[in-house]
Amino acid sequence: MHVLSKEDFSEFINSLIADNSLNVVGVKSKGEKFAFGPLESANQLRLDYDVTILPPKKYFFPQRETLVTYNVSSGYKSKSLEDVKPTIIVGAHPYDIMALLHMDEIFRETKSDPNYLSRRNSSVIIGVNIQNMSESCFASSMGCATIDYGYDLMLTDLGDKYAIDVGSHKGADLLNKYSKNVKKGLARDIQSVGKKKQEIMNKTHQKFGFSSELIPEMLGKFYEKTSFWEDHSEECLSCGSCVLVCPTCYCFDVIDNPDLSLKTGERERTWDGCLLEDFAKISSGENFRNTKATRYRHRYFKKGKYLFDRFGFVSCVGCGRCSSTCLPDIANPVNLFNDMYDESLKIGIQIDPATIPDIKIKTGNTIDYAPKIATIVKKVPMTANETMFELKLDDGSELGHQPGQFVQVSVFGVGEAPFGVSSSPTKKDTFELCIRKLGNVTSKIHTLNEGDKVGIRGPFGNGFNAELLKGKDLLFVAGGLGIVPLRSLFNYVLDNRNDYGRVILLYGCKEPRELLFGDEILSLEDRDDVEFKSTVDRCPENEVWNSNVGVITTLIPQVDFDPQKTYAVVCGPPIMYKFVIRDLKSHNVPDDHIIVSLERRMKCGVGKCGHCQINQLYVCKDGPVFNYSKIKGIPEAL
């Protein structure tokens, strides 16, 4: 413990400000409120603040930032972060420091986010113990009113001086280099700091009527209580304020901004939030969280359960920002959880403290948000709205995908969208995508021609486990565009035909003219090592169709298969799964013999932006291929 008189402290801050190689920010007043902003002088600091409008997370994960720049003639380039000045944050409260520690885990897990982490690594956090607690703060209930780690320096106001706790070498160096007259703290100072911290921990305007350790379990028992969620979210404005101000929210959107020349531009990421109406909506119109209640519930689950199951912490630090920003006053976690607890007592639900899960956090490669360039080598229109594109990476490398994986395709200035790879991995130097015209990216791709360039990121996600399926009978069930990802496995199996048992393909689409890969698929009828059946929902007068008419499920009873030896591989429009799985189960196919590939709105493709989430799972990272036995208990999945 060190001490620094207030005057010397001001000088310390001023000498930091004087160093142009540093970006010094701190808490200043903004109207009647407070906000972190650039410091021009130590006098501007308001370390007696209660809470800032936005948390200091904005310095590491800014409201808007350029991820990559592009130039139609030279491709995409990640934004260089090397010239980023180290940011010194003065005055972070302990709950906000805890929130940054949560964000560190999130941005590091599986694939690390270079933008967040490089800014974070070069920063210095000078914390301050809370002097005035905001009315809505419940950090004490979350164990975050004080903190013993995670900072470089931690200040405690002792009247005419600050006690300074050094938390890292970085902090010690900074103090050595920029301050004068630092003294060793006396036993008396240490005692005063201890007393202050104790006071803060005991002080709160808001608290839970139960132990916060019950939160994850309690949530688990309330998921299905629809009316509870509806009642609490009735007044929700879907304004997203509660998530935008939250220090532990990290969802984002990605948007292309072309310059006026239309030849160059940048791809920007910007804060997004699961409370906004279109957050989980896809271009076919399906909205996977289409009510206020389901969106409202998702926020509490994300913080209270999904992240707990993944990382072992409830990702709320009790800053109270959400409560005070929500105009209808429905976003306060204290009120919600207290209501939930009362309700559980009333209806007699027993809730045990959650056991901290056994956590294996994987860390891995750094994400490269810049796509590689690929050239369209062949364009084959298939139907009025679907076209097949054969692509080759310009750097000569192989895509190297597993069947069932997807890529993110970029069109300069328009955006990026995910597509399942449709060719088998046995086809090496090029790969194929089959794309339906729906919205911006897909319509623009349709205007491109052979020789034109697109961007490619990936392959991403979990594909089909072709090894595991060896020796098994395979029943492919494809609806409409669902044939596209299945084809990568199907063709792989045909290329390694002897490794597999029976191969059955059931394929349905709306009308004959929507049949994809027509010649290729119809030629299957000539093969005796593949059983093939197709159907259309209806056949208009002017079209010809010599096969079945009816929905895809009507084909299942037409094939005779041994459910114990057969693996069913299913992909189609969202509504199809329920019915196909119901019928497969009625044919005694075991749950773990059903494999599905799912579709959700995507932005990042690497498990960060939050768009593709189905409860605790990410379609881009844990899927898109899932074993049914793993997701049958996941309510948002099917």
Binding site: G31, Q63, C236, S238, I255, P258, L260, T270, E277, P328
Partner: protein, 245 residues
């Protein structure tokens, strides 16, 4: 070939066309990509051969409908610019009054000679492909829409409320300053510019697709507005609630 562009004005203040004329340097760049064939603010000539039609102002008379349908026939892309055209705008304030009174106020003695009917946005009369909201619209958004159209994409216009941008801009909320704001139900896209300037949102961009109007009214009342005044807050810009063509 450069797309041909034409500008048209209906009932409005022409503030939006002024915005475009004021784009100065940017417009020069832009003009490199398009050919303007009709633009009353800055040129005398007029042509009916155009690809993109920008329409300003709202439709306030039955006669206007014919002209709009003509434009729709000629243009492959129709863009409504400014609140009057996109949502009916301030013009639809008159929808709250008796039409005969409106005519008297506007035309005095000769009122009965004139034909006026509830003001409505362009898309109440003809289908509209893209919108540049705002009263007046901003240059930035106009350019965003034009760039998008030239790239062959539908301009992304947010379907979330102004609060989203307002929070990103770290404003002190108008309600906390004792003001009343309709940002929570108003379509974002202006970067919450009025609140950034220290005022509040009046709703000039119209409502999001699915606004929770009841909750917004309750909030206004909770913060001290009378119920009538709360309803009044909706009148300024939300006067037209009809169906789109």
């Amino acid at each position: 070939m450069k797309p041909k562009v034409a500008f048209f004005d209906f009932a409005g203040c022409e503030g939006d066309q002024l915005q475009i004329a004021n784009l100065e340097e940017e417009i020069l760049d832009l003009l490199g990509q398009v050919e303007v064939v009709s633009f009353r603010e800055v040129m005398k000539e007029h042509s009916d051969d155009y690809d993109i039609a920008f329409i300003e102002g709202s439709c306030t008379r039955l006669q206007d409908e014919e002209r709009l349908k003509e434009i729709r026939k000629n243009a492959s892309v129709v863009v409504a610019i400014g609140s009057c055209a996109t949502i009916g705008g301030i013009n639809s304030l008159k929808n709250y009054q008796n039409m005969d009174d409106v005519k008297k106020i506007v035309y005095g003695e000769k009122a009965s000679l004139f034909d006026t009917y509830p003001a409505r946005p362009i898309d109440a009369v003809i289908p509209v492909d893209a919108y540049v909201h705002g009263c007046p619209m901003t240059k930035a958004e106009f350019l965003h829409v034009v760039k998008s159209l030239l790239l062959g994409k539908k301009p992304e216009i947010p379907n979330y409320p102004v609060c989203v941008e307002c929070k990103k801009n770290e404003n002190v909320c108008a309600f906390e300053r004792g003001e009343f704001c309709v940002g929570p139900i108003t379509r974002a896209g202006c970067d919450s510019c009025c609140v950034n300037e220290g005022t509040k949102c009046w709703g000039c961009r119209g409502m999001v697709d699915n606004p929770n109007e009841n909750s917004q009214k309750e909030v206004l009342v909770k913060y001290g507005l009378s119920v009538d005044d709360a309803i009044g807050k909706f009148k300024l810009y939300f006067g037209w609630q009809g169906k789109k063509k």
